[in-house]
C-alpha cells in the first residue's frame, strides 16, 4: 500500500484533470462576467436607464427604450409562445399514443436547436415582406375595420419570431415535467370519474407546475438574449414603443449594433446593456428557482 502504484498515479492524474477541467471552464465565465461588470458599471448611470437612445456624440443618451423594447417583445412572444408550447407539451406527454405525436415530437426537436437566424429569414419573408398574404393572393386581410398586410419591420413580426423560438423550448420542458407526474396520481383522478382533460389540467399540471414555470422562465431568458431574428424582423429603433406595427428596439440588438461600431460612447453603452441583460436573466433564473424550491418543500 505504501509503494508507488501506477494505478494510484493514474487515479490522481484523472482526478486532477477533472478539477482542472472545471477550473478551465470557470476561466472564461469569470472573465466575461468581470469584463461585463466592470465595463458595464462604469457606463451605468441613472441617465442611461431613463433616457432613450441618442445618436453617437450627443451626450445624455440611454438605453431605456431598448429595455422597454425587450420587455414588450419578450412579453408578447410569451403570450403566443407559452400557451402553444404548453399545449404541445401536454399533447406529447399525455397523448403520446396519438398518431400525430411522433411527428410533433420530431419537429419540436428539430426546432429546439434550430438556428435562430433562419427563423428570422422565415418571418422576414412571410410577414415583413408579406409573402404569406401573396401566397393567398391577397394584399391584406381585414377583419372588421382592422386590416393587416405586409407588416414591414415591426414589433409584431419580431414578437412572432421570438415566439417561434420559444415554442419548442417550452414544449420540451413541459413534456419532461409532465412525464414525471406519477401514473398513480393520474389514475387516481381518472378512477374518481374526472374527465381526461380535467385530470391533465387540474391534476397533472398543478403537480408539475414548478417544472412548467421553470420551463417558462428558461424560455424567456433564452429569447431575451436573442438578436438574430430581430435583426431581420424589427431592425431596431431609437424611440419609445409607439405601436405593434412600428419598429422597436431591444437590448440584444443594441448590444450588437453598438458593439460593432467604432464609437466609444456607444460601446460603453453596449457593455452596460450586456450587464443589464445578464442581471435580468440571472435574477429570473435564480430568483424563481429559490421560490420554487421552497414551494417544493411541502
Amino acid at each position: 500500500m505504501k509503494m508507488f502504484s501506477l494505478k494510484k498515479f493514474y487515479n490522481l492524474a484523472f482526478i486532477s484533470i477533472c478539477v482542472i477541467a472545471f477550473i478551465l471552464a470557470m476561466i472564461p465565465l469569470a472573465w466575461i462576467l468581470i469584463e461585463v461588470i466592470i465595463r458595464g458599471i462604469s457606463a451605468l448611470s441613472i441617465e442611461l436607464l431613463i433616457n432613450t437612445a441618442n445618436p453617437p456624440g450627443i451626450p445624455g443618451g440611454g438605453i431605456a427604450n431598448y429595455i422597454q423594447g425587450t420587455i414588450i417583445l419578450v412579453g408578447l412572444a410569451s403570450l403566443i409562445g407559452f400557451p402553444v408550447g404548453l399545449l404541445l407539451g401536454i399533447f406529447l406527454s399525455e397523448y403520446k399514443e396519438h398518431k400525430l405525436a411522433p411527428y410533433v415530437r420530431f419537429f419540436v426537436e428539430v426546432f429546439a436547436e434550430f438556428p435562430a437566424i433562419v427563423i428570422g429569414i422565415f418571418i422576414y419573408v412571410i410577414l415583413v415582406r408579406g409573402d404569406i398574404f401573396k401566397l393567398f393572393g391577397v394584399e391584406k386581410v381585414c377583419i372588421g375595420g382592422f386590416c393587416i398586410g405586409a407588416t414591414g419591420f415591426a414589433a409584431i413580426a419580431g414578437a412572432i419570431s421570438l415566439a417561434l423560438l420559444m415554442i419548442p423550448i417550452v414544449a420540451k420542458s413541459v413534456e419532461e415535467s409532465l412525464s414525471l407526474v406519477p401514473i398513480s396520481i393520474k389514475e387516481a383522478a381518472l378512477s374518481l370519474g374526472m374527465s381526461r382533460w380535467k385530470s391533465v389540467f387540474i391534476i397533472s399540471i398543478s403537480y408539475a407546475r414548478s417544472g412548467i414555470l421553470l420551463a417558462y422562465i428558461l424560455a424567456l431568458s433564452r429569447i431575451a438574449g436573442e438578436a438574430a431574428p430581430l435583426l431581420l424582423t424589427v431592425l431596431g429603433s431609437f424611440y419609445w414603443f409607439t405601436g405593434l406595427f412600428d419598429r422597436i428596439g431591444a437590448l440584444p440588438l443594441a448590444i450588437f449594433t453598438y458593439g460593432i461600431s467604432p464609437f466609444e460612447d456607444l460601446k460603453a453603452q453596449a457593455w452596460a446593456a450586456s450587464l443589464l441583460l445578464i442581471l435580468a436573466i440571472l435574477i429570473l433564473n435564480i430568483g424563481l428557482k429559490i421560490i420554487i424550491k421552497r414551494k417544493f418543500a411541502w
Binding site: 445618436p55 415582406r129 414591414g152 429603433s237 431609437f238 419609445w240 464609437f263
Partner: protein, 388 residues
C-alpha cells in the same frame, strides 16, 4: 399544510405584482423624461417613420432625426444597414424610405416604377489605416493607383517600394497589409470601387464597381457597415480600410491623402476640399423622377480633370447620398396620409434647415441648386393621387 400552500402562492403573486408595478412605474417615469416639447403629447400622437440604408449618411441622418424629434412629434427611425439595405428594403416596400450613396441601378429603378431620388447631403470616402509606428498627426500619401493595387492584392506589404516612395516613414514597416472591406451591401463600397475603377484599368476589368464586390486581396477582413470597418481598423494594426469621412474624424482614425487627378497634388480630405469638387463640376442632374444610375460626382470630376488641369484643392472621392421614396406613397404598406405628409415634411426640412447639421459632422451641405432640385422632386410626391 394547506395554509402553507396558500401563503406561498400569495407570496409569489405579491412579488410578481410588485415587479409588474415597478416596471410600469419605470416606463411611466422614463417616458416623461423624454425630449422637451414632447412632454405634452401622448405616445399615440407621435408619428413614427421608418427609414433604413446607407451607413455613410447614418451619422448625419440620425443626428438630424434626433433634432427634428425635439421640435416636432415625428420620430424618424433610421437604421444604418448599408446602402444595399436601403435599396433592397425600399424595393421590398418594408420601409418608408431608403437611403443610399449609390443611385438605384437602372434595373431596380425600372422595376420600382415611380422611385424618386432626393439628394440629401454630400460626403467623401477616405482611406483609413492603422500603423502603430506612424504618429497620428502624419497623413500618409496614396495615389489612386496604389490603393487599387493594395486592394487588388498586388501590393501586400506596408514597406512596398511604391508606398515608401511617397511615404519614407514606411520603409521599416515590414508587415503585411490586411485590407478591410464592407461585408454588407454598401454604397460606400460602390463609391470606393467606382473610384478604383476610374483610376485603375485592371480593377475595372477584374472587379468592377457595385455595392458588393468580390475582393481579390488575400488578407482581408469584412466589417459590417461604415461603423464596422472603422471599428476593425481601429482595433487591428496594419490594416487599411475605406470609410465615410466623418467616421474617420469622429473616431480619431488616421486617414490619408489622395492624389488629385487634375493637378497631381496630394489633397487632404476636408470639408472645403470635398465641397470644391462639387463646385468644379457643372452639375447637370436629372429630374427627381428620372433614372439616376449614371450620376456620379467621381466620374464627372475625372472626366473634367482630363482636360482641365486647374482644379486644385479638390478631393477626388466624393458622393451624394440619396433618399428614395415612391412618388405614389400609398404603395408602401402601412402608410397613411399623415405619415406620408410627415415624411415629405421631414425630407423638406432635411434638405434645407437640416443641412445645418452637416458641417459639424464633417459632411458637406448641398449647394443651393441641388437643394432646389430636391425640393422640386419632393413636390412630386403624392398620396393616393393628392399632393402632400
Amino acid at each position: 399544510m394547506k395554509r402553507k400552500g396558500i401563503s406561498r402562492i400569495v407570496l409569489v403573486s405579491i412579488i410578481v405584482a410588485v415587479i409588474i408595478a415597478a416596471g410600469v412605474a419605470y416606463v411611466f417615469v422614463a417616458s416623461n423624461q423624454n425630449q422637451g416639447t414632447n412632454q405634452g403629447t401622448t405616445p399615440t400622437q407621435k408619428i413614427r417613420i421608418s427609414g433604413a440604408g446607407s451607413t455613410f449618411v447614418a451619422y448625419f441622418m440620425q443626428t438630424a432625426a434626433y433634432h427634428y424629434a425635439q421640435k416636432y412629434p415625428v420620430e424618424v427611425d433610421y437604421a444604418s444597414i448599408g446602402s444595399g439595405g436601403g435599396i433592397k428594403q425600399f424595393m421590398e416596400k418594408t420601409v418608408d424610405f431608403g437611403a443610399s450613396d449609390a443611385p438605384l441601378p437602372r434595373s431596380q429603378w425600372e422595376k420600382a416604377g415611380d422611385a424618386l431620388h432626393i439628394p440629401v447631403v454630400i460626403g467623401a470616402v477616405v482611406v483609413v489605416y492603422n500603423i502603430p509606428e506612424i504618429p497620428s498627426n502624419i497623413r500618409l500619401k496614396f495615389t489612386g493607383q496604389i490603393v487599387a493595387d493594395i486592394y487588388l492584392g498586388k501590393i501586400t506589404k506596408w514597406n512596398d517600394p511604391a508606398l515608401v516612395s511617397l511615404n519614407p516613414q514606411l520603409a521599416n514597416i515590414d508587415k503585411p497589409i490586411t485590407v478591410v472591406h464592407r461585408s454588407d451591401g454598401s454604397g460606400t463600397t460602390y463609391v470606393f470601387t467606382q473610384y478604383l475603377s476610374v483610376v485603375s484599368q485592371e480593377w475595372a476589368e477584374k472587379v468592377g464597381y457595385s455595392t458588393s464586390v468580390n475582393w481579390p486581396a488575400p488578407n482581408k477582413i469584412g466589417g459590417r457597415g461604415n461603423e464596422g470597418v472603422a471599428g476593425v481598423v481601429q482595433k487591428t494594426p496594419y490594416t487599411i480600410g475605406y470609410v465615410e469621412f466623418t467616421y474617420a474624424v469622429k473616431n480619431n482614425i488616421p486617414y490619408g491623402m489622395l492624389d488629385n487627378p487634375s493637378t497631381g497634388e496630394f489633397v487632404e480630405p476636408t470639408i472645403q476640399t470635398i465641397a470644391k469638387t462639387v463646385d468644379y463640376i457643372a452639375l447637370t442632374l436629372p429630374r427627381g423622377d428620372e433614372d439616376w444610375s449614371e450620376v456620379s460626382i467621381i466620374v464627372s470630376f475625372f472626366e473634367l480633370a482630363k482636360t482641365n488641369k486647374n482644379l486644385s484643392g479638390a478631393f477626388p472621392v466624393v458622393s451624394f447620398v440619396y433618399v428614395f421614396i415612391y412618388k405614389e406613397l400609398s404603395k408602401v404598406p402601412g402608410m397613411t396620409k399623415e405619415k406620408a405628409k410627415a415624411l415629405v415634411e421631414f425630407l423638406r426640412w432635411l434638405v434645407k434647415d437640416g443641412q445645418q447639421y452637416a458641417e459639424p459632422l464633417y459632411y458637406v451641405p448641398l449647394p443651393q441648386s441641388v437643394t432646389n432640385l430636391a425640393l422640386e422632386t419632393l413636390s412630386m410626391a403624392k398620396f393616393q393621387g393628392s399632393n402632400l
